[in-house]
Amino acid sequence: MSITDVTTDVERAVQGAIRTAASSVASSATTPALTRRARLSRLVGGVVLAALLATLPFTMHWAGPAFAVDYGLIVAMAVLSISVLGWIGEISLAPVAQMGFGVVAVNVCQVHHIPFGFTLPIVALSSLPISLLLAAFTLRLKGVSFAIATLAFAYMAHKTFFLEYLGTYGAFGGTGTTQVARPSFVRTDESMYYLELAVLIAVALVCYAINRSRVGARFTALRESEMAFSTLGHPPAAYRFFAICLSGAIATVAGALFVYLQLQVPSNLLLPAQAILFFGYAVAGGLGSVTGALAAGAVFGAIPKYLETLTKSEFLNYDLFVIGLVVFVVMMKAPGGLAEIGRRVWRRVEGSPA
């Protein structure tokens, strides 16, 4: 069992997921176990959700610019990259730094006139060496030590690299900061939304697939007992490397999309402390849950931005306070996070026993 085995497992899982996705509509409608109410609510819910997702930037136009949802999707991806590490039971504070590397990668691509079609794949690949470095460095660490180590990594990346490369506080000047031009087909924030949504859905599908597959089961085993896991003949290191690389790739792509959205990203948006905030989002969303990450993106990414515009920026000062409160309440009342709350609510809608 090695890295290559893991990857072939993943390939199989993804293929499986595509097959399931293709047949899911038919199968879910015909599953006999579901009550009529459940079937109906699933159908309605799915249609509403799809319609909402398809038109979100426009339907929410009364509340603010499409930038809000765009930003929400980016937060969702960043949170997802933290959540993915929840599979191996670790907390990473590095994703914000990895987003920064995504920004840098886009910059480099742009300087070398690489067509947009290749940029995102290149960005995703470019995350590999950094993730491997991080993984090697943190191989023997668990729990709090792992979190601190990733934080130190983020700190170094920010201080020694981004500050030099991107400049502090774009504030006092973005003079040297390279502007990023969007490809022509995502000129507006609305079209940007669909690009982000497509990427996010692809990423989320991959995550779902991996989580449902044998690899996902092994992650669970690894999380529960590393010793038992390795005595069964699986290499914990390979799985840890894989999870860290996956998380890094997601974060890096999120960073790339972020710079396309923002047109330039000064390094003060990549502060190490930001990682702690994102971690808070991930917890509140539900650590390890893909749905939770998406919910967190909506609640902590998009809604505050809408509130900013709806309240004419009066909300601005309060965002930390409110986010802290939400994290707190979720921690105390629903340890499974927003994902758990959503599931409960949905069960009631379906009418199935909670």
């Binding site: 136009h61 504030a171 601005l316």
Partner: protein, 524 residues
């Protein structure tokens, strides 16, 4: 058992809304701080005839004449010093500087955010000759086709022009940033109180960016794409103005009077910055220090940002060209100012002076620490307009004596007609404003915006505004610099004046040291 989850959600929503309401109370507190009761200051200040007469004496210093606010000052006074009296809480905040006129804007033409006016742009107005009173005379009826109902462009109606303004009210530099915004709002309000722009009121939508680019750009997009403002005016939050430059070009929205500190802002076709580039400040400062102070060796602490680096490069270039040497350079950031080590290195290198590009907080830290060690470089500390605020001597305490800063406009201790007028206008609305080069930049920006609009007559379009701004020549409010733009060349202001913290009674105050110079590098 399950209902508590619903309760939790409800409670959170409640708190959010409470937070939002609470914040307007906070703004009121802010306004009280500045001595203004409610916000709907002088909506009723009867502008009438005066409005037409005042505005564009452009070429000439407006001298004492205008004092438009004379009768209107009634509106300003009521709650001035007076106790809490929350006055008009709802109207408070930053919503709209001009009373209720916002509702009028609903009539804006639906789509087409891009200026449709490209064709009708009066290219036939080339010369700079226009600048004088011509504008006031021309409410020329029928000058343009679309103005029958006054909706000549996005955000323009017969009675109002929607203007976006993004200020800094919170975040790490909220404590100084708010002054820039308050000065801009005061000026825009004064323009409305004196009749507005050819009969149209400026409907100013104010936003806070908390000095965070994502928030600022979110606000800008909201203003432009949803609120459909005609232009953005006097936005001087550098973290927003830099990306805003690209965005303004993309949307073809005029962005009048940004800070212009970062060089990137000069590359925008739709931005007209009015501040001085940090590099120019550095060049002038270095020249003066060598010539007048005889500085040979210097140390430099700069925020590690591209602008900070441009300050460093400008300083080093001039210093070394004139035979001096920059012995010690150190980069700082807000979370890691590195002042202690800079001092140690500067002392070891035995420098004549320490030049600084950093905010008041870091400057204060540096100088307090130096004083704590009983150290002062022979020629003292000097730097940029970054800390030309009265908050600086408050933070440095006595340690700040002798600190040299620069100003982009006539320093505030001078008594010129231009400054008198500036102060009169601004303090009428916000008596406790902390005057600095940047508040003056706000003042000039708002006036330039309004005066140029007046020149357009009733046919107000974005493209015509751009053309008119691009042909601005020697616009002068008597504040030390005449502003001129040419298409593609927006470096209007490169003049730097030096000021110094000197003892005045038992306090320190900024005093002009009578040195003005211009950095000619950017003239083309």
């Amino acid at each position: 058992m399950r209902s508590w989850r619903g309760l939790v959600v409800f409670a959170v929503l409640l708190l959010v809304s409470a937070a939002c309401n609470g914040s307007s109370a906070q703004r009121d507190a802010l306004l009280r701080l500045n001595g203004v009761g409610g916000a709907g200051t002088g909506g009723s200040a009867a502008p009438d005839q005066t409005g037409a007469a005042v505005p564009s004496d452009s070429g000439v210093v407006p001298s004492g004449a205008p004092s438009v606010g004379g009768p209107g000052s009634v509106g300003a006074s009521p709650a001035a010093g007076a106790a809490p009296s929350f006055g008009t809480p709802a109207a408070g905040g930053r919503a709209s500087a001009s009373g209720g006129s916002r509702s009028a804007s609903s009539a804006t033409p639906g789509g087409a955010p891009v200026s449709g006016g490209g064709g009708q742009a009066p290219a036939a107005r080339p010369g700079a000759a226009a600048s004088s009173a011509a504008s006031a005379a021309s409410p020329a009826p029928g000058a343009a086709p679309a103005q029958a109902n006054g909706n000549t462009d996005v955000g323009v109606t017969a009675t109002s022009i929607k203007v976006g303004h993004i200020g800094i009210y919170s975040g790490p530099v909220g404590y100084v940033g708010q002054n820039l915004s308050l000065a801009a709002r005061a000026t825009l309000q004064s323009i409305n109180d004196s009749g507005g722009v050819n009969g149209r009121k400026l409907d100013v939508l104010v936003r806070d960016d908390g000095w965070d680019g994502t928030k600022g750009i979110n606000a800008a997009r909201d203003l432009v794409e949803r609120e459909k403002v005609f232009a953005i005016c006097c936005t001087q939050s550098v973290s927003t103005t830099d990306p805003l430059t690209a965005y303004a070009d993309q949307q073809k929205v005029p962005n009048v009077g940004p800070d212009g500190w970062g060089l990137v802002q000069y590359g925008g076709q739709w931005s007209w910055p009015l501040g001085v580039p940090a590099m120019s400040e550095a060049r002038v400062l270095a020249k003066w220090q060598v010539e007048k102070q005889g500085v040979k060796k210097a140390a430099l602490l700069h925020l590690n940002s591209p602008t900070g680096q441009s300050f460093r490069d400008g300083y080093k270039e001039v210093l070394e060209k004139m035979g001096g040497k920059l012995e010690v350079v150190q980069a700082a950031s807000f979370d890691d100012p590195g002042t202690t080590t800079l001092l140690a290195r500067a002392r070891a290198a035995n420098v004549d002076t320490i030049a600084i590009y950093a905010d008041s907080g870091i400057v204060a830290r540096l100088m307090r620490e130096a004083a704590g060690q009983g150290y002062k470089p022979p020629k003292g500390f000097a730097g940029s307009t970054f800390y030309y605020f009265n908050v600086t001597p408050e933070l440095t305490g006595p340690a700040g004596e002798g600190l040299i800063s620069s100003s982009h406009w006539t320093p505030h201790d001078q008594d010129t007609p231009g400054l008198r007028r500036y102060r009169e206008v601004v303090t009428k609305y916000y008596p406790k404003i902390d005057h600095t080069a940047w508040t003056v930049t706000s003042f000039v920006g708002a006036n330039l915006f309004a005066d140029t609009l007046k020149k357009l007559g009733l046919n107000v379009t974005r493209q015509r505004l751009k053309d008119a701004l691009d042909s601005t020549t020697d616009y002068d409010l008597g504040l030390g610099t005449k502003v001129s733009f040419r298409p593609g060349q927006h470096h209007a202001n490169t003049a730097t004046h030096l000021v110094q913290l000197m003892r005045e009674g038992d306090k320190l105050a900024w005093k002009s040291i009578g040195y003005d110079d211009r950095d000619a590098t950017f003239d083309k």
